[in-house]
């Protein structure tokens, strides 16, 4: 990591400079475009040499934490290693050069990968059909809830517009329900982190469209009453939605389809190791049970068994007239899907189950070590899934040290902060998810850092409260950022 300020790229800019070797030779004739439709002002784009651009963006990259450089115990985000092979083989020139509207005959290799990916995802989730088109988890959620609505409508069951969401849910769950034109009904969880069945019984009824659940939940524990939840919601005529954010915890151990879920989205950029890219692209494939098959978003890859070899083709509205439709211009994040395909083939049958096993082992190990240090575990009576919650309410009360302070101080020790202040119902919380790709030695170093920070909090609390001290910047003034909006560069003042 570097520490100096890197100039904004426009500060390198000089009129007449450029990466000339990248430009087409000469200018094209545009005499036929009417003057009134043409641009008169030059856009503010940098005029820099190729070397200046390469250095600038390399330096910017060096101001980041990343999986390749740092451990991210980031709960609910599954920041595991992104194997280089996935990137390499998704970026073969033929795959990169394939136009989305190229004929199926010029895509049998690509389509075969997509078809097999659909089949593998069916197997690991226990669902009956898969659509790969959603471009992120939130869009997969949208597709899921839209399918639930379409299902009820197709049955003439028009009153069902309520989506039940536990209070610990990801923010995308209620936001998605709203985007689908539904009303959100939040229900509490009990002291041990399971859904409050009485509250659920009280809220279900003829208006229930469905329930959105993460299992293991965002509290880091398995929802033990899942079969009862399924019975109650199905009994009331609603459907069950599985938020796949925590699928990594149970991969190869238990399947959402077997738990009674009717629809699921998967975050391929979590469970199946495609890169987070500093905020995307993700991929939010959806899976459905029997009842929702006709409503899957298009396109889907189908296979026609031919006499000689199978022929892969796109399934569209013609094949699925009740589909909720098209969520992207083409087929979603195809390149991300190729990466997930390579990853799943490299894990194979046995490797798939090991994901859930070692993710759970790592989480329970860190939990045990932090408990020994005196950190308070939010759900001490429960077995951790692939993640768990530490609450710093005592440190906040006694030492005036917040979860944010500990998170920021961890950066100084070379660890990305865990997820903080989520879920919202646990005060001063850190949600910690180590993932299966971290070694015991890395986990031990993390625990050592947590021990050192606890000691600092007692001996020299200012050190923790004013952290980080070794990052390119110290804590940023977010209030000023929101009040004095500076969203584009306007020249050196």
């Amino acid at each position: 990591m570097i520490h100096g300020r890197e100039q904004v790229i426009f500060e390198y800019s000089r009129p007449g400079r450029g990466a000339f070797g990248q430009w087409p030779g000469g200018e094209g004739d545009v005499g036929d475009i009417p003057e009134a439709l043409r641009r008169r002002s030059r856009p503010l784009l940098p005029e820099v040499s190729e070397l200046e651009a390469v250095r600038h963006f390399t330096r910017l990259s060096q101001l980041n934490f990343s999986i390749d450089t740092h451990f991210y115990p980031l709960g609910s985000c599954t920041m595991k290693y992104n194997p280089k092979a996935c990137n390499q083989y998704a970026m073969l020139p033929e795959f990169l050069g394939r136009h989305p509207l190229a004929p199926e005959s010029q895509g049998q290799g690509f389509l075969a990968c997509m078809f097999e990916l659909q089949e593998m995802l069916k197997e690991v989730t226990g669902m009956r059909g898969i659509s790969l088109t959603p471009m992120a988890g939130a869009q997969g959620e949208f597709a899921g809830v839209a399918m639930i609505r379409a299902y009820h409508r197709a049955r003439g069951d028009l009153a069902r517009n309520e989506i039940i969401v536990p209070e610990a849910a990801h923010g995308t769950n209620p936001a998605t329900a709203t985007m689908c034109g539904c009303v959100v009904r939040e229900i509490p969880v009990d002291a041990e982190g399971d859904v409050d069945l009485e509250a659920l019984e009280a809220v279900v009824g003829p208006n229930t469209a469905g329930i959105m659940l993460t299992n293991p939940s965002t509290l880091g524990v398995f929802e033990r009453k899942i079969e009862a939840v399924a019975r109650i919601v199905h009994g009331a005529g609603g459907l069950l939605y599985y938020d796949g954010a925590n699928l990594n915890a149970i991969l190869g151990k238990v399947r959402p389809g077997d738990m009674g879920f009717d629809v699921i989205h998967m975050n391929l950029h979590k469970t199946f190791s495609t890169p987070h890219g500093g905020g995307g692209p993700g991929a939010g494939a959806v899976g459905v049970g029997e009842r929702l098959l006709p409503f899957l978003p298009i396109p889907i890859v189908g296979r026609d068994a031919g006499r000689e070899a199978a022929v892969y083709r796109w399934l569209t509205e013609r094949d699925l007239p009740q589909s909720i439709g098209r969520l992207s211009a083409f087929m979603g994040n195809a390149g991300v899907l190729l990466r997930a395909y390579v990853y799943m083939r490299m894990l194979g049958r046995d490797g798939m189950s090991r994901v859930g096993e070692y993710a759970t082992l790592n989480a329970n190990y860190v939990l045990a070590r932090l408990r020994e240090l005196g950190y308070e575990i939010a759900y001490p009576s429960r077995r951790a899934s692939h993640e768990f919650i530490v609450t710093l309410r005592r440190e906040a009360r006694e030492l005036d040290i917040s979860a944010m302070d500990v998170a920021k101080r961890l950066l100084d020790y070379g660890f990305h902060a865990p997820t903080t202040y989520f879920p919202l119902l646990v005060p001063e919380c850190l949600l910690i998810e180590p993932t299966e790709t971290e070694s015991k030695q890395t986990l031990d170093r993390f625990v050592a850092a947590m021990a050192a920070i606890l000691e600092e909090a007692r001996q020299q609390p200012d050190m923790v409260k004013s952290a980080p001290h070794t990052m390119p910047v110290r804590r940023l003034d977010d209030v000023r950022a929101a009040k004095q909006l500076d969203l584009t560069w306007k020249g050196t003042a």
């Binding site: 904004v8 790229i9 426009f10 990466a19 990248q22 200018e27 094209g28 475009i33 503010l44 940098p46 005029e47 820099v48 060096q62 980041n64 934490f65 990343s66 999986i67 920041m79 083989y89 033929e94 050069g97 394939r98 190229a102 004929p103 010029q106 049998q108 290799g109 471009m135 992120a136 949208f142 936001a175 709203t178 034109g181 959100v184 033990r224 079969e227 987070h276 890219g277 905020g279 995307g280 098209r326 969520l327 211009a329 087929m331 390579v342 083939r345 490299m346 194979g348 049958r349 189950s353 759970t360 082992l361 790709t437 070694s439 910047v473 000023r480 929101a482 969203l487 584009t488 560069w489």
Partner: protein, 457 residues
Amino acid sequence: MPFIPHTPEDVAEMLATIGAKSIDELFEEIPASLRVRGLPGIPEALSEMEIGRLMSDRARQDGRPLCFLGAGAYEHHIPSAVWALTTRGEFYSAYTPYQAEASQGTLQLIYEYQTMIASLTGMQVSNASLYDGGSAVAEAALMAARAHRRSKSMRVLVPRSVHPFYRKAAVATAGNQGMRFEELGYERETGKVDRAALAAFAGEDVTALVIQQPNFFGTLEDVDDLTDWAHAHGALVIAVVNPTSLALLKPPGEWGTQGADIVVGDGQPLGVPLSSGGPYFGFMTTRMEYVRSMPGRIVGRTVDAGGKEGFTLTLQAREQHIRRGKATSNICTNQGLLMTAATIYLSLMGPTGLARVASVSHQRTQELVSALTRIKGVRAAFSAPRFHEAVVQFDRPVAPVLRELEQQGVLGGLDLADHYPELGPALLVCATETKTSADIERYAALLGETLRRAQAA
């Protein structure tokens, strides 16, 4: 064990610390009846060497035909530096920049991107990307309904000449919230929005008018007049644009007397490979007054505790992780890595290079249209000026002709039979700066031959 570093000794020590006898014991809280024993449908693991062979074989099977398809995805030259930098682990494997102090690189890059895309579109503010052009149109319609407080109709006018897949994505995404999209026809002679169809909405409550420039046919719309009409009739203007074209064409911020209100499009032409349709990224820019109605992440420049300049996510009160059910959108993960590639691409191209890409692409398309329309039985469909894409009509069905070309390794364009049956046999074609005169001659010669054979038969 692929990607799992644990030695047997590690596992034994860890289980001892936990106080469990086996890893299996850690799953004791899952009801036994739900546990799966094995996944027979998953194939055995492949080594990197084996998967490499498989993927290379499959890629080779797909080949590298000479491609004259456009329709929202354009083959442009991508400098080597773009993806060499974008796939650096520090960009590629970083998380969303919530921890600002450990993410200054990504945050500053987004700020630079916002500056470039806002200037290119002639608007004041940009977000940090949406999924793609199609979903961006849906988000723009929903944003217009929030931003335009006087309009209650949730009614958006969308010309039939807007990308058909964008229209479908908009309906699928925004239709659930009561958004209504109403179609406007186009003039058969020019390919431009039918003004008579538009005039029929005068006096009605319309939330927004969508204007795509160039439209799906490549035809240039009278954007000034359309924008002024919309504003005179109380509607906002959603511009859908090709970012490469903006090096040459009037930016939406300067359309008509007031400029467009929301600008969206697909950023794919800016350094993003075709890759079967994604990942691409959607861009969105707007006026400062609507910034709080905008979905997606936004980066601002501020100072740290020591007064040093730094960058952070801002205006997060609009977003799902804070506002939950009342957020502007459910969007969370967006297309950060593609936005990264585009920022590097724009830095290497600069204003001059991008204008050259645009003008040379346009000239190539003009050459292509001239070459194709010299063939007997082929004519240009529309009379209005265009940018770097065009519709040509045949005297016989397009599909069999395209299949013949395909056999020769040429993708001749998009058959419009499904989307625009009213045009008869029609083909949407595009040539960018990547096509040489020889490529264009090859295509024209093959098409001429194919059509001659068909006409003789």
